[in-house]
Symmetry: D2
Subunit: 336 residues, 4 copies
């Protein structure tokens, strides 16, 4: 039985606490938060649970084996380092750190301590994303042409960060998990409308070594919620709509066949369109966080490397840094 | 009665021919095309109509008052110049020319000849776009934050051009019509997957002098058809979905109110969300081309300047040129 | 080349006229209508076409081989009888007659004259309905449980008939084509809101000899347009949404498995749910009327019996008569 | 502080238990269930909560002021009677009883004991239904023409009852709350496909004294989930789609204007269509059960009659009885 402490009981922490409380092989060993109101809520929801107003007291508790770091991003690095030093395994929320230097230090420390470090790239634990990964790995799509994601809604504004560091992290972590290639260059633009110096809408193009192109559109100020990804390949194309209640992934047998039979005119392409069946595979609809929390406990038990470990978290942070640099140059191309 | 000749009976020409044939105050005076098959089709559909295999013969016909130029883009300039020189009014399909120099020459020639020059920015004649224009002009949206359009589908590949010169023209012409501002800089990216040297997917960010940002996503290789534009303002937000059968324009009373009451902490914003009613105004669903053709005939009768005249066409071409330059620099910011 | 005359150029006649005008192996030989305005419209659209203000003159024209009867329902019988007597093949719009006696007389007369009689059950010629028929005939759905259709919209009110005689005809003709069983009893209800003595909203349940149940909901006064049919079977279930642009037919691998393993309690069922993939087969999107008109011409050439001949038309009328009887008894069950 | 005991911790009971546990002015005083597994789950979720394997022990607990009866329908009557006799206020899940005689007895007993009796017509506490009620009461729709509801999905089969006694209850309780009229006659049909003697699909027409007609379609065996109600009036029409995330209620300014200006022909109606704006009012999205539980506690404190009291529960049961009688006559009209 792995006892898990949750550090930070704000927006996301309660979901992790609830999952560990109900998990086979895990238990909620304690919760820390700087707010007494939040700790009172913990007491109501989890009556037997220990609470701490200082996370360092939680780290000193020898009955706790592992911790969740669900605090604001700037604190991910120091809290994680302290937790590892205290001998705890760590599940850190996304993005894993505010800089790649911090992320590298966290990875090195976990390695040194022989502890599990899992980055909460939640979507990688959904049935939909796992299905897409299998489709791409099987080669069903043929040559990959593009990956296009729209992730917009009204709120929740995050203080002190650009929207890409909040919403685009989801897409970058999914791409990191499902795509066989890594972006080599980005061009990103955005705008901020509230005088905070931070962008609330952003557009990111990612170039890959081959001809694959990816694009992310994130926006905290949209009138409607959209969570839609198009993935185009030479043989098949995917529409992944996370707001669909059950058919979240649709696979289209559609495409374009191009040939050049006209020797006289090299510039003339003969284009024909292929429009075949559509297919929506049945998906495992288990709550992603439950799968992820179970995976964390399993990795601790087996001393295994998580699917979304420090390496994945670092790659996402490095792309985010390149995105931020390109945004300052109004879309100027920037190496990752 | 204005007699209109149609030059080019390919994909779009038949729609213009049909509309002029059925128009009050107009008639279809002739059709020219290089293909005998297409002219045979004209004969079946419009039994009394004169046909020409050389458009110059059509231009020589004194009974024809005006022409539609529905030929490939590279020919827009020479055919339009010849038509104006022959004393015809001209309706030219979009984009009006392959370069701003050509567009300027066409405008100057129309001016010199005292003829009407209308650029076929079809969407500006839809009930939906006219409604959006009125909403924006009335100030109902408050300060404008962003304009975001997605225009993707499978096909129709246009030979010899990037997708932006085909699909993004629609959005640029709508923006030119409804927005009170003009883009000053662009950052554009894209990819081509068929070895033709032309991009079939593109992303375009447009920066304006104020804090407005616009973005276009165009793609000839998408598994599903999307025609959706989000327009965000400080007071209201619009979703314009051209595939909706009747409620194409939805106005949301949603937004974010930001204040800074915490003097101690300048970086802390107090954000509250406003979620009010949604409203879908009734739209005039008259076929846009019918309205446009009628407008062309009316302008000829009144010697008036069309809503979508040479000036609008030129502005669109200039932005397209900047887009093409930025795409060659992988998103590098480029002045319009 | 079969020359086809169209009798009645109101709402539906123009679609048939246009299709015969453009058909391989067919031509539009003439149009009759009592309205001079409508005939003027024919002249504009089909400049070479003969027009008649009295359909009897059209029937006397020896160059016309076949006619379309697109007049109001009460005239279907006399016009069709006259046309057959004049030696013409007949395509009659739906429902084929106002009573089963009339329908039987029309069938007998066509038989006697050796002429083709096709009833315009348009939907039977769509790719969607043909696909559904194949799925049902292949046994893919297992045992059939239910057929449920909703066909509602705002307008078009038909004068002098209940809504079932206008809209439900479509569903009855589709059911006649795709289902391997025939309804034996009906229970129908409805209401009229405009003092005309005719219902503008109706609900029809159809009972079959086996456990299959069908239901139709038709309404001329709905705020939105719905064209959706659910077909449930023991192995698969279908959703047919005619308003979807391309994926009109979706096949769901869903269902319920019921067993009774609890010998102690005969009333306790053990129910388990099956939720598998969804699949949308590619459909032929050819305009149904074109396929139907071609089929009419082919049947004439081969003296073949049409897919939707008099027998199908008669069955539909018989069910409509039972529906009308049940409606007068406020849902009282009525044999077909 | 009202202490509430929950009797029955199956499918719905946990939702009520959770709400009372988190309610202002209420607390979860105990839970009873015949299953030890379910009680173990209660212990995990509500660590301080008393549990009982016999509900009579719960009723004997003097610290408990009120109970929720969330047991199978056949037990609603005896458990409620015992609870009232034990001096508890009662919130009973829907339908309130298996017969109108039982419902009447429950009402009389609550009256005699001076206790609150609330029937869990959950939807009456949603923002959507409250909004519809206000629209109808304000006369915004004009004369009411029809109320049409579809409530279908795959599962959850209820043992021992027809689907109308499970799903149609929701619609009947909503209609009871929002409509100013009561049904006087019903015609109902259905079919059962699993040999249980109970119908899993049903169609119910309800006739009213005026020209209003209502219809319910309920089905446990549909491939997709639908929760859609159309309400038609002479001035406005409503679409209420409970699966929409936010715009659940849409009000359409659409309709038909009928006049008879043709004195010569009494049967000829002149019909014109009105197609105006659509409007989706902002709705209170508070969880309905929370509002209902709060209302229950408030009624206890004020000794007030609940919005959905015994009278509403009884009316729903009476209509269900008429529906069951009509179903046995295959749609034969039956007085309520």
């Amino acid at each position: 039985m792995i006892s898990v402490g949750v550090i930070g009981y704000g927006y996301w922490g309660p979901n992790l606490a609830r999952n560990f409380a109900e998990l086979e092989g895990g238990e909620l060993g304690g919760v820390s938060d700087v707010s007494e109101d939040r700790l009172a809520l913990v007491k109501r929801r989890h009556p037997g649970c220990k609470t701490f107003s200082d996370y360092r007291r939680l780290l000193e508790d020898p009955s706790i084996d592992a911790v969740v770091v669900a605090t604001p991003v700037p604190t991910h690095h120091p809290v994680t380092m302290a937790a590892l030093a205290a001998g705890k395994h760590v599940l850190v929320t996304k993005p894993m750190a505010g800089s790649s230097e911090q992320a590298e230090a966290m990875i090195a420390e976990a390695e040194r301590c022989g502890k599990v470090l899992l980055v909460d790239h939640t979507f990688c634990y959904t049935g939909a994303v796992r299905c897409i990964r299998e489709l791409l790995q099987s080669g069903a799509l043929g040559e990959l042409y593009y990956y296009d994601s729209v992730r917009v809604n009204l709120g929740l504004f995050q203080h002190g960060v650009d929207v890409v560091w909040d919403l685009a992290v989801h897409d970058l972590s999914i791409m990191n998990y499902v795509l066989p290639f890594r972006p080599v260059e980005v061009s990103a633009t955005g705008a901020g409308h509230f005088g905070s110096g931070h962008d609330n809408i952003s557009y990111v193009t990612l170039f890959f070594e081959n001809n694959l192109i990816a694009h992310l559109h994130v926006n905290w100020m949209a009138p409607v919620k959209v969570r839609r990804t198009l993935i185009g390949g030479s043989k098949k194309m995917i529409v992944y709509d996370d707001l669909e209640p059950s058919e979240k992934v649709k696979v289209y047998d559609r495409g374009v066949d191009v040939s050049r039979s006209d020797k006289e005119n090299l510039y003339r392409m003969l284009v024909s369109y292929r429009t075949g069946d559509m297919w929506a595979p049945h998906l495992d609809l288990t709550e992603a966080l439950r799968t992820e929390c179970q995976h964390f406990v399993d990795c601790i038990g087996r001393r295994a490397t998580p699917i979304t470990g420090g390496a994945a978290g670092l790659e996402v942070v490095r792309v985010l840094e390149a995105v931020s640099r390109s945004m300052r140059e109004r879309g100027g191309p920037t190496k990752t």
